[in-house]
């Protein structure tokens, strides 16, 4: 009985759907989080009778063949990379990217990771670091005696040093973009890594053509739309229920069959 396994694929698909929605809702307040969606596709078809086959030797054709489907599968869980809203904060090391691009983060093992979460802090050496303490590349050093730090739209980092009238430029932030940023691999901790599907990273100065600008004292909120998620959740739950009804119905038919000849 194929209906049982078809309904099982439907239930599995809806379960994935609910998991993705749950993850979106759980990350509603995660800085720089991008909403994910599950994409579904139908499964292979069995050709029982070919449409367009001849039904007689005078050339009459079968208008509708018989093709039986085998259910559904999750084709992809993809990220919607639309920007989130910018939220103001009081932390001078909170920077948001207004437009395209990612900050490059040097991981402890020396590899590169990328993030849009601009919730940074200072390390004891005066470097900008993520909440895990990973250094933002290219590195910069803010003098320990600096009283204020200003980061402008082009990513220039300037520090106010007591006794100096002019601001001292201490570093330059850099942005990285990808041909297909939906193809980046999520590492957790708001970090992403390059994959063969994302394409090679291209570094550039904030504010130049194709790159976003830097907004100090702002954080990018997640782009999760709660209303949309809740409606999707309801739809997914109902779809799950309906598939489980099919399982019950198929089961009942089979038990009728088993009763035959008893």
């Amino acid at each position: 009985m194929r209906a049982l396994s078809i309904a099982a694929t439907g239930m599995q698909a809806q379960q994935t759907n609910v998991e993705v929605i749950a993850n979106n809702l759980a990350n509603m307040n995660t800085t720089g989080y991008k909403e994910q969606r599950a994409a579904f596709q139908d499964l292979l078809y069995q050709n029982v009778e070919q449409a367009g086959a001849q039904s007689s030797d005078t050339g009459t054709l079968v208008p509708n063949g018989i093709q039986l489907g085998a259910g559904v599968r999750t084709a992809a869980v993809y990220r919607i990379t639309q920007p989130g809203d910018l939220q103001s904060t009081a932390n001078p090391y909170d920077v948001a990217i207004n437009g395209a691009g990612y900050f490059r983060v040097t991981m402890p093992d020396g590899t590169d990771a990328y993030t849009r979460d601009g919730n940074f802090s200072l390390s004891p050496e005066g470097q900008l670091v993520t909440q895990q303490g990973y250094v933002i590349a290219p590195g910069l050093a803010i003098p320990p005696n600096a009283t204020a730090v200003a980061i402008n739209g082009q990513g220039q980092v300037q520090a106010t040093i007591p006794g100096q009238t002019a601001l001292q430029t201490v570093g330059q932030l850099e942005l990285t973009r990808f041909p297909n940023d939906a193809g980046l691999k999520a590492l957790g901790d708001n970090l992403f890594s390059e994959t063969s599907s994302s394409g090679a990273p291209q570094a550039g100065v904030p504010g130049s053509t194709g790159y976003g600008t830097i907004q100090q004292y702002f954080l990018e909120t997640s782009n999760v739309n709660a209303v949309e998620e809740i409606t999707s959740l309801i739809t997914a739950q109902r779809a799950y229920e309906m598939n489980s009804k099919v399982v019950t119905a198929a089961d009942e038919m089979m038990s009728e069959t088993a009763k035959l000849g008893s």
Binding site: F40, P63, L68, V72
Partner: protein
């Protein structure tokens, strides 16, 4: 004598197939661009020997499934916000290039690949008027016009090819939301493209569930019929075989 059980058997097989199709519709309720299907049955009439004491020709009708018909009505448009999610309103299909040749789909979920080509979840390129459409990083935010025109910051990039067929029902399904066609496609006349949307499946849950109950009950009724026929036979054997 066996006709009654064979006729019920023919319906039972048909009911199982009906159930498979309903299960497939419900399983694909969330598949973008999926079109619901229904099984069409027909009679298969066979003449039989008239019973003793009766004259004239008699026949029994078996059930056989004649075809699975696709309901081609459009699904509602579901907003996703992803710039490469496209939906076609009206008659039309996207053309994609697969290793096995050109295939057609209504599932408008596309992404970019590492070269910036617009591709399906499987990585098959979406075809424009001049082959696959490649988006450069400098194009910035991409917009799709209602007629399929793709443009970015640097002007027009290409045009999504939307095609239509003389006989849509003759398209064969291949799974992964793709259709194959032996007919050559014509440019779609009344297709409109919407960006950031996906066409949801046109499966109506209420309809499917009530169809399901109907099939289940009809199956039960036929099973009862088969059981009664069986009882009849058993009684005949028991009673006739008893020596008085």
């Amino acid at each position: 004598m066996d006709n009654a059980s064979l006729v019920s058997l023919s319906y039972q097989l048909a009911a199982f197939r009906s159930m498979d199709v309903i299960a497939n519709n419900l399983a694909n309720a969330s598949t973008p661009g999926f079109k619901r299907e229904s099984v069409k049955f027909e009679e298969y009439v066979q003449p039989v020997q008239p019973a003793e004491g009766q004259s004239g020709s008699q026949s029994v009708a078996f059930v056989r499934d004649a075809g699975v018909v696709r309901d081609l009505s459009g699904g509602s448009l579901d907003h996703t916000g992803s710039p490469y999610d496209l939906a076609i309103s009206g008659n039309g299909y996207f053309a994609v290039q697969t290793p096995a040749g050109e295939r057609y789909t209504r599932n408008g979920h596309f992404t970019l690949n590492s070269e910036g080509q617009i591709v399906t979840s499987e990585g098959y390129p979406l075809l424009g008027d001049g082959g696959p459409i490649t988006v450069a990083v400098d194009d910035g935010d991409i917009s799709f016009g209602a007629d399929g025109t793709v443009s970015g910051k640097q002007g027009q990039i290409g045009k999504v090819r939307m095609v239509d067929f003389a006989d849509e029902r003759a398209l064969t399904k291949e799974g992964s939301s793709l259709y194959a066609s032996s007919q050559s496609p014509a440019p779609a006349a009344d297709a409109t493209l919407s960006q950031g949307m996906l066409e949801s499946s046109n499966v109506q849950p209420v309809l499917e569930i009530s169809r399901m109950i109907e099939v289940m009950r009809a199956y039960e009724a036929t099973a009862t019929l088969a059981k009664n026929t069986d009882d009849l036979k058993r009684q005949a054997v028991e009673k006739l075989g008893t020596v008085q």
